[in-house]
Symmetry: C3
Subunit: 331 residues, 3 copies
């Protein structure tokens, strides 16, 4: 294994093997497995869980890490090919990435979507470039439309929580003041489809997931014996759910148009997840969210502080599954 960029690059069995390895490393720690190994972490966008869990996971395996934050202690990195660099970026990823890769044994990179053109972001232009530039194992710490570490942690959380492999998984849109990227909804949708679940996406009109993302998930579902549907009828979607996974994302109808997006979402503040959503429709459903979450804006305190919330366990599992990925890439 030389790349961990997309859960879709692996078979269901390969994913389950990674989860088995995560379990083994929790039960039988290998504090020297990555002794002498160095992980480079490049954050072009903010982070809490990823930043802390990769450093902690690497240390628990005996390795070390360093962090580079372009625009903060390090200059901004240009990513466009052929750019005439007379703006703010002082270095191009064509130099920055191979140089950092040459210092370490594996490189993780976080770079959110540009959020201007949907077709452009769906192509993952930066990670396509990085793939060719990085001579060492490469890990996607969240890209334009993917977040495989989160998806893998969520899979483990579902397994641990007794959510049936054929259970009903509802991915619901949630309100947020700003149009957030599609990385987590796309990755979590794909994960649930790969796991063979009955997946329903509930989102208001204008926030449909792009056909490219839906079709990719449908192919994964077909291979695994599950299904993928999409609706704006939230109540119908929630009925009988085993798990409700909330995520905020931007309007795909008005992608890159902040003003039009803002007008659309201004009417949607009631998409704040509350206990009333579950009361009759899915009283035993678990609740998931990748964090960070705006309390009482995207999700009410009563849900986050109640017994159905798995959010802290999802976050803890980030470290556990990433240790398996690091072990597979480097041990």
């Amino acid at each position: 294994m030389r790349r961990f960029l997309d859960l879709a690059d692996f078979s269901g069995d390969e994913v389950r093997d990674l989860l088995t390895l995560a379990q083994r490393l929790e039960e039988h720690p290998e504090p020297g497995a990555l002794a002498g190994k160095i992980l480079g972490l490049v954050f072009m966008n903010p982070s809490l869980r990823t930043l802390a869990s990769f450093q902690a996971g690497m240390a628990r395996l005996g390795g070390t890490s360093f962090v580079i934050t372009p625009g903060q202690g390090t200059w901004q990195l240009e990513t466009r090919d052929g750019a005439v660099m007379n703006g703010t970026a002082a270095e191009h990823v064509r130099e920055g990435i191979p140089v950092l890769a040459s210092y370490c044994d594996a490189l993780g990179v976080r770079a959110f979507a540009e959020g201007k053109r949907l077709d452009e972001d769906l192509r993952e232009p930066l990670f396509s470039l990085l793939d060719g530039l990085c001579g060492k194992p490469l890990i996607n710490l969240e890209s334009a439309v993917n977040h495989p570490c989160q998806a893998l942690a969520d899979w483990r959380t579902l397994d641990e929580s007794g959510v049936p492999e054929r259970g009903k998984f509802v991915l619901t849109w949630a309100y947020h003041p700003k149009p957030l990227p599609l990385a987590v909804p796309a990755a979590t949708l794909h994960m649930a489809a790969m796991r063979g679940m009955e997946v329903v996406v509930a989102r208001p009109p204008g926030f449909e997931l792009p056909p490219e993302i839906m079709d990719k998930a449908r192919r994964a579902a077909a291979a695994a014996g599950g299904s993928v549907a999409e609706t704006s009828d939230r109540a119908a979607a929630l009925a009988g759910a085993h798990v409700v996974y909330a995520k905020e994302w931007g309007s795909t109808r008005h992608y890159g148009d902040a003003a039009a997006d803002a007008r659309l979402r201004a009417e949607l503040t009631e998409w704040c997840v509350r206990e009333s959503w579950f009361a009759r429709a899915a009283p035993a459903a678990k609740f998931m969210h990748c964090l960070p979450v705006r309390r009482n804006v995207a999700v009410a305190d009563e849900v986050l502080d109640g017994p159905r919330a798995l959010v802290l366990r999802e976050a803890y599992n980030r470290m556990r599954v990433q240790m398996a990925v690091l072990h597979r890439l480097l041990a």
Copy 2:
């Protein structure tokens, strides 16, 4: 020991035991004592000594650390309970802290006072919350009105410098262009009282330490056989001092009112510690300050660069006593 939040949580003997452990670890290093252990450090405010000395101390015991700086590489953290999070903070400490704690073996947090309402800051609202949220050993890296690591380092410095346990300890206010928090004056006052010293606080009118802080110190002094007094007569306070500890802090009369504070302090620029303060009053007195210090504003070069200054040793002792705290919490 699961918490290091306030020197007042420990008896004098327990503090002396920590100092003995610090000494033992200096004389007989234990480079593998914390092998495999991970310290998480959260800085909601800037730092130099704390940031460097905890990382260095952890490394000297064989452990590792990671640093999280909300608002810089990590989003800002909301701390108010029940908040509707539609502002700048993207994550609540109710998620952030348990998540970070789940990655590490001990967590240190720095969060200065809000500086708006004195009664509020005196309650230490954030650390009360953190205490319940953090499932791992928790260390106060400076809170609203406390800084136990600094206090412990200062105690060691007094011991090393031959300052008698019953000696006269003068905590003097010093000028600074801005109203700084009460954390260090409160912690150092308490430390000197716990050590059994004759403590006198010298400060201009309007900068009285709050009764809650004074009373707490008086109780500690009573238990230890010392005393605590407060005066605006600086010359009288300095007479016969064994040690003069300077610290800048904001007006308590005008707490949270920057304009009124500024008018009051504008008249007080002569509270810049100079050699003339010591000349006849206390020629052999040692000089202490927790750093950082504004030279020739709060303290003159002649004092900082002269033989009575213990400031560098205080800073070095931060690492030494924190190693003892880490050892006690994690070894």
Copy 3:
């Protein structure tokens, strides 16, 4: 060895010994050589290579490091002696540096030129001060007019690439929208002179290197059997070059005068290194640059992506030669 501040502090043989050590450590790694050792890294200016390569190099030798970034997580540091500190800097290097040094086993500091007065910057006022303040081995991570780590890495790169010791080394000015410091041109010039090469500096009128820097290099060249010349005739300089080293720097005629510098450089955008520079004049010449580089502003894609470019190897060699420096200082 207690200091690594300037390549000129060492003889040619001592430099070659360091390069031999770098080679040995690459071929025969010593993963425990610096076990228990701690490197403090202070960055008053941004960094990518230095930040990552020192941390990675230290880890590869079994040691650890911590990073301090004044103005970002740590307050700004005052550097002027006798300053009345009523501005933005909250701490003086007279405290900050000895304190940090007391936590670690070696300290690296980056502090660019102030860029106001050339005579002042040529004196290296900050590093002269640091030399006296730092009780531990001290490493120059780039100062006002020096960058010995870069120079040492470049020397190794020349050796590896088969550039003859008596070969022709052309240091050429390159366009950049801003007046950059003299540290790299001064250090690389000195390195090539010490290596005994035929050195020619090609730069437009107004960008002459200061006589102090030229004279120092000429003395090194004389001792090593090489030569140093300067010209504004770029074509003549390039003819027969074995290696062309490009670097951007500010006008020395208008040092500290941004407006006059801008007027002068506005006419010089054609000093962007292109393949046409090499075509007939030096078809086999290697191309070097310390990075970061503004593509298609200072150097064209065709050069950076072509076979003559050694820039990635120079960057990789930063880690390799710095490991030798750390080993010599600390093992």
